[in-house]
């Protein structure tokens, strides 16, 4: 996947990631969690990072923002946020970027908020840190942010604690914290997992509206292909630490080229299909601690495998904006 | 399961030599408690006023006290009584407190209310003060010390057993057991109790130390075991007046013994906790 030219137009891109690799040192060996991941996201664009558990989609987000725990480290590649290199940035520089130029929201919003600080202050903390506001101005702006994420009676709700709010409300507060400083990039890590579907729809609407209004780039990390289909302009599919396919959403859904993408689509229940039409994906993820990981980590599960698959992986641009990491795409 | 647990235990002991050390110390204490009285060089009660307050020497390893008794012999012989009191009270509270917590957590309702009230009442007192009051009211005997030490530990055992039970009562496997045809008591004793047993054992090891301290503390203020019976708390109390005049050994050796025993059980408890629940490592 070396020497890849990210698909999105470079001039407009907010984040350019190339050859990005991450490892975790564990007692049981080195986990090669990400291997030469490459993508870019443009202004106002929503890109979905889709994959099953263990595919490395959350690790990507954490590594980009310097939030890996002590065992993890970036072993190579580059990630440029509006021209600023993130992989070599100092912890202090990253801390100044996080929450200001790149923000993140998480799943399980109630646990992701400080339980004993009212939500207005939690939004205010970010504004005071990054926007240089005083306590009073931050409090006033926090109320505006609560209004912006559609929370009724924001002045009163600013004094509420997370336990007094529903899960959906908490996630809106999370969004308010994230977008308070008008970041260029928002990473949403499974933002609606655990929420009810009706709440999910509302929360996703708000994120979409804010992205459209502010022109921020969004990375939507999700295991739900249907959610990605509905809410993103482009989808990058991850499998075992690789991005295997990256294409505009409609193209990817209608003309998937990588065997794993096709398998994933064939396993996803749809509104119209029958159970008998669904196909599972045989085999399991390879053990990422192995020293002899094959160049294509899907090869062992793949029915389109060729002898050529033993060669180092390379991106193939099948048509403009549609890349696939496969020697034998469908 | 036992295979992997044993393997894990061996792993913990090799990985964490402190636990191995505590285990060795524990075995030593048990041996002293069993064989101590028949092995010591002197009669722990025999006074020898000619040799009173002798500093430690080759003849009297830990020196002699104010009436010439051999402190080493007394310290070793006391092991049985001190550990015995602690072990008996822990066993007592394990049986009653553990069961009460189990029942309380599993059935809830009025059973839980009643047991909770009893616990709250005990907890309303500073625990050592309550132990003092119980022994003072019931009389200065060893069974009463055991009882008092057991009673003040009761709320702790109830709380731990109850919390663990409640957590498992909500777990799916309890419902699964009912679906599989187990009745309440079957679920409680067959499924829940074995699951919380390891945690209760850790608790026992940790409270052994506290029980030893408590019993010795009672003796130190003149409640509980009476002189001239060799007991660490009394021996420290007897030695206390000689500290200011420089005869340190009279109080030091029984105190050090007491401390080592408590330390041993605390280390062992921490080690056991690592084995039972590696995630709760501190």
């Amino acid at each position: 996947m070396s020497a890849a030219t990210p698909a999105a137009a470079a001039s407009q891109s907010v984040l350019d990631v190339t050859d990005f690799s991450v490892e975790f040192r564990t007692r049981a060996g080195i986990v090669r969690a990400l291997d030469r991941v490459a993508f870019s996201v443009g202004r106002g664009e929503t890109m979905a990072l889709v994959g099953e558990s263990g595919s490395g989609k959350s690790v990507t987000a954490y590594a980009l923002l310097g939030l890996l725990d002590a065992a993890g480290r970036i072993t190579g590649g580059s990630a440029r946020l509006e021209g600023t290199e993130l992989t070599s940035a100092s912890p202090a520089a990253l801390s100044a970027i996080r929450g200001k130029r790149a923000a993140m929201i998480f799943q399980n919003p109630r646990a992701a908020l400080n339980p004993i600080r009212n939500v207005g202050k939690q939004i205010g903390d970010v504004l005071r840190r990054h926007a240089g506001l005083g306590a009073r101005a931050a409090a006033a702006e926090a109320i505006e942010m609560l209004r912006a994420v559609g929370i009724p009676d924001p002045a009163r709700r600013a004094g509420a604690y997370p336990f007094e709010l529903s899960g959906g409300m908490c996630q809106r507060v999370m969004i308010a914290i994230a977008v308070a400083t008008r970041p260029a990039l928002l990473i949403a890590d499974e933002p609606t997992t655990g929420l009810d579907v009706t709440t999910q729809a509302v929360v996703m609407d708000i994120m979409g509206r804010l992205a459209a209004e502010t022109g921020m780039a969004t990375i939507l990390i999700t295991h739900d292909l249907a959610l990605a289909a509905e809410r993103s302009g482009r989808i990058a599919v991850m499998h075992a630490g690789h991005i295997v396919e990256d294409a505009p959403t409609k193209t990817l859904l209608l003309y998937p080229r990588h065997p794993y993408t096709r398998r994933l689509l064939a396993a996803t229940p749809t509104a119209a299909g029958n159970l008998a039409d669904l196909r599972s994906i045989p085999g399991n993820l390879p053990d990422l601690r192995r020293d002899d990981l094959p160049p294509c980590r899907f090869a062992a599960r793949c029915d389109r495998r060729l002898p050529a698959c033993e060669a180092p992986m390379q991106w193939r641009e099948l048509e403009p904006h549609h890349r696939v990491a496969c020697w034998n795409p469908a | 399961m036992s295979d992997t647990a044993l393997g894990h235990a061996r792993h913990v002991v090799t990985e964490n030599p402190v636990t191995g050390f505590a285990l060795a110390l524990f075995i030593l204490f048990v041996l002293a408690a069993i064989f101590g009285p028949s092995l010591v060089p002197y009669d722990p009660l025999a006074s020898d006023t000619a040799n009173a307050l002798q500093a430690p020497s080759g003849q009297h390893w830990f020196g002699t006290d104010q009436i010439g008794r051999d402190i080493f012999s007394r310290v070793v012989v006391a092991t049985r009584l001190d550990l015995g009191i602690a072990a008996a009270s822990v066993a007592l509270v394990f049986a009653f407190g553990g069961f009460a917590g189990l029942v309380s957590g599993f059935f809830g309702g009025w059973v839980d209310q009643v047991i909770g009230r009893v616990s709250d009442t005990i907890m309303a007192f500073p625990l050592f003060v309550l132990a003092m009051a119980i022994v003072a009211a019931l009389g200065n005997t060893v069974p009463n010390i055991v009882l008092a030490t057991g009673i003040i530990n009761f709320p702790l055992y109830v709380r731990v057993a109850r919390a663990e039970t409640v957590q498992r009562r909500e777990a799916g496997f309890v419902d699964a057991a009912r679906i599989a045809g187990h009745r309440d008591m079957g679920v409680l004793l067959g499924q829940v109790a074995p699951n919380i047993m390891p945690i209760m054992v850790v608790q026992m090891s940790l409270t052994m130390g506290y029980a030893i301290l408590n019993a010795a503390g009672l003796s130190f203020i003149g409640l509980g075991v009476r002189a001239p019976t060799p007991e660490w708390g009394i021996m420290v109390a007897e030695g206390a007046s000689f500290i200011v005049s420089g005869e340190w050994w009279v109080a030091l050796f029984p105190g050090a013994m007491l401390m080592t025993a408590v330390f041993c059980f605390n280390l062992l408890g921490d080690g056991l906790r690592d084995i039972v629940d590696p995630r709760r490592r501190t």
Binding site: T198, T268, P269, T270, L275, S280, N284 | R183
Partner: protein
């Protein structure tokens, strides 16, 4: 245990077409502190309120709704793990609601109603191997021991596609999909007539989910079991279920054939729910949004529609008159004053 005449377990062939007939079942829990001084609280959570439904032999009934809608409580009620506050639960020809849940463990019908739990990992005693878990109900309910037991365990495992060499493993040594299979094997071991599936695939990746769903379909065909399938994933419910029951705040708001309900919902809540489900073919611009949160289930107004206030089409009438389930063509029912049949 149950000595009354006419309330004996009946052989399946002697029973009518209905396996399960639940009528006006409610379950309420007291809430609030009952301290010494604060006095007894009389507030009640209406977890399940006046629910009636039927399940035909061989049918698969889907139960959908969002968190707090009462589907978990309903599952516990019909699996006889908890006692209803009122109402009747008829299983075959037998009335089960009068048998206290704590005695049902030894009831002859215990074996005929089994559950597959939501979190397969958590529903297996951590001290049990897969074989122990599958053997437990067989030993308890059918008194099997020794070779017969082992044979039955292996048979159940094989039926569920669980390799026999995995039987000696503890739950934490199994993958999510394998644990799900152990959970299913345990439940079908006693050959139940009714299997309650409580979100059996919620914790699984899609690739594994498919295999589990297909396993459930094949078991339904080969063993002739009836399913009550609980899920929050409407797409999965549509795949597996003949009929579907939609719940909202403890009450049934809509019942009907699964495809009909999802393709043309009658109740405004169902409409909002269906509209909110992401679809692979992209979002519809006119999608209906249900804003706000459900009302509190504590002491709800008995005369107001539970959906009132969040409902996009509600009127004042909904605040003073509780809508009853009304019948519509095609075996459908909906509890809304303004539900109208979709034009054919």
């Amino acid at each position: 245990m149950s000595g009354q005449i006419g309330n004996q377990p009946t052989p399946p062939e002697a029973e009518g077409p209905l396996l399960l007939d639940i009528a006006e079942v409610s379950k309420r829990f007291p809430v609030g502190k009952t301290g010494w001084l604060s006095g007894k609280s009389h507030s009640l959570v209406h977890a399940v309120d006046d629910v009636s439904l039927t399940l035909a032999r061989g049918e698969t009934l889907g139960l959908v709704g969002e968190s707090g809608c009462g589907k978990s409580t309903l599952v516990r009620l019909l699996a006889r793990l908890t006692d209803p506050t009122s109402g009747s639960i008829r299983f075959g020809t037998r009335e089960l609601s009068a048998i206290p849940a704590k005695d049902f463990a030894r009831d002859p019908d215990r074996a005929r109603i089994q559950i597959v739990f939501q979190d397969a990992g958590e529903s297996i005693n951590p001290r049990f191997t897969a074989a122990d878990a599958i053997a437990d109900p067989l030993r308890q309910l059918q008194g099997l021991t020794g070779d017969t037991l082992r044979q039955k365990v292996e048979e159940a495992a094989t039926l569920c596609g669980l390799p026999l060499e995995l039987l000696a493993r503890f739950p934490h040594q199994l993958s999510g999909g394998q644990r799900a299979r152990v959970g299913i094997a345990r439940a079908i071991g006693p050959r139940p007539d009714l299997l309650v599936l409580d979100e059996p695939t919620a914790a699984l990746d899609v690739s594994v989910q498919v295999t589990i769903l297909q396993l459930l379909v094949s078991l339904r065909e080969s063993l002739g079991i009836s399913y009550v399938f609980v899920s929050h994933d409407l797409n999965v419910v549509r795949l597996l279920c003949d009929r579907v029951v939609v719940m909202y705040l403890g009450r049934i708001v809509e019942v009907g054939p699964a495809r009909a309900v999802f393709d043309a919902p009658l109740h405004p809540y169902t409409r909002g729910l269906v509209a909110a489900v992401p679809r692979l073919d992209g979002v519809r611009a006119d999608a209906l949004r249900l804003v706000g949160d459900p009302k509190s289930p504590i002491d709800p107004d008995p005369n107001a529609c539970r959906f009132h206030g969040r409902c996009p089409i509600g009127t004042d009438r909904c605040g003073v008159e509780m809508p009853e389930l009304r019948r519509f063509a095609g075996g459908r029912q909906a509890a809304c004053h303004y539900a109208e049949e979709a034009p054919a």
